[in-house]
């Protein structure tokens, strides 16, 4: 017999102010959220920081959660929005820095081989997120579509093309 409460029961309890229920939500879903962010960001520390921000935003907006979507999907959707905002602010910072000091181009080094993270970083953002969710996180296409706010067909093509690109890059890095 399974005695652990469902996600909906935990959400209801957390809405009533139960700190324990919210902690259980965090413990239950931190793995999915953190792994998703770690696969779409270069630095794991940044990913964990954003994951904490994600759960803080979830706590603030728990009343907005509707049980039609899975809680995991809803949390990852928040994480994705945070990730996009973070990316925009990071890009502004980088532009400011580059104005002061021109960047060194890594691809000028002929011996540099792309690792998987770098290969993943070559994919467009939405494609990378779809690949990270479906191939890395075991999300269904429908769940990933709900998370990223994209049509199901787009997710399917993102995953298929992203996977093909990744395997091409990883399969023969000398080309």
């Amino acid at each position: 017999m399974n005695l652990s409460p469902s996600d909906d029961e935990l959400v209801a309890a957390a809405r009533r102010g139960s700190q324990g229920a919210f902690r259980e939500i965090v413990e239950r879903h931190q793995q999915a959220v953190r792994a998703f962010l770690r696969r779409t960001l270069a630095d794991p520390a940044d990913a964990d920081d954003l994951a904490q921000e994600t759960f803080l935003a979830a706590w603030t907006g728990l009343w907005r959660y509707r049980s039609q979507a899975s809680l995991r999907s809803w949390l990852c959707a928040i994480a994705w929005k945070k990730r996009l905002t973070w990316d925009r602010s990071r890009r502004r910072d980088r532009l400011r820095l580059e104005a002061l000091e021109p960047p060194a181009h890594a691809d000028q080094c002929p011996d540099r081989r792309l690792d998987v993270g770098a290969a993943l970083a070559t994919l467009p953002e939405a494609q990378r997120a779809a690949v990270a969710l479906c191939l890395g996180g075991g999300f269904s296409h429908a769940e990933a579509a709900g998370t990223l706010g994209l049509p199901l067909g787009t997710i399917k093509s993102h995953v298929e093309r992203g996977r093909a690109k990744l395997l091409a890059v990883l399969g023969d890095p000398d080309e």
Binding site: R23, Q52, W59, V116, L135, G136, G171
Partner: protein
């Protein structure tokens, strides 16, 4: 499974987070506590500002009311002071003498050895 697929699978494993992480849960709770504190402080500041604004807005009316109240007390002032003084005297007179208290303390059983 090709080498590329193996590398990809290894990457998914390497970037996975632990299934349970108390430190992470505590870090989230700390952020929530900090947010609650900020909300509390902001609420108090807002309440203080509202109170100050209300005081500034209603100050002339309040001062006028206070002036009227103090003015109405003026004739009754000496009477109130006299009643207070009389009350103090009555209380003093109805109290047992201090010596009796001291005597009780020195001879609690009342043996009569004290002159």
């Amino acid at each position: 499974m090709s080498e590329a697929e193996t590398r990809l699978a290894e990457f998914w494993t390497a970037t996975d987070a632990p299934s349970r992480d108390l430190a992470f849960a505590l870090a989230v709770e700390e952020r929530i506590a900090r947010r609650l504190m900020l909300i509390d402080v902001a609420g108090r500041i807002a309440a203080g500002l509202i109170a100050i604004t209300a005081l500034v807005v209603f100050a002339p009316a309040l001062l006028a009311l206070a002036g009227e109240f103090v003015g109405s007390l003026d004739p009754a002032g000496p009477v109130l002071a006299a009643v207070a003084a009389l009350g103090a005297v009555m209380i003093r007179l109805t109290r047992a003498p201090v010596e009796a208290w001291l005597g009780d303390l020195e001879d609690p059983v009342g043996s009569g050895t004290r002159p």
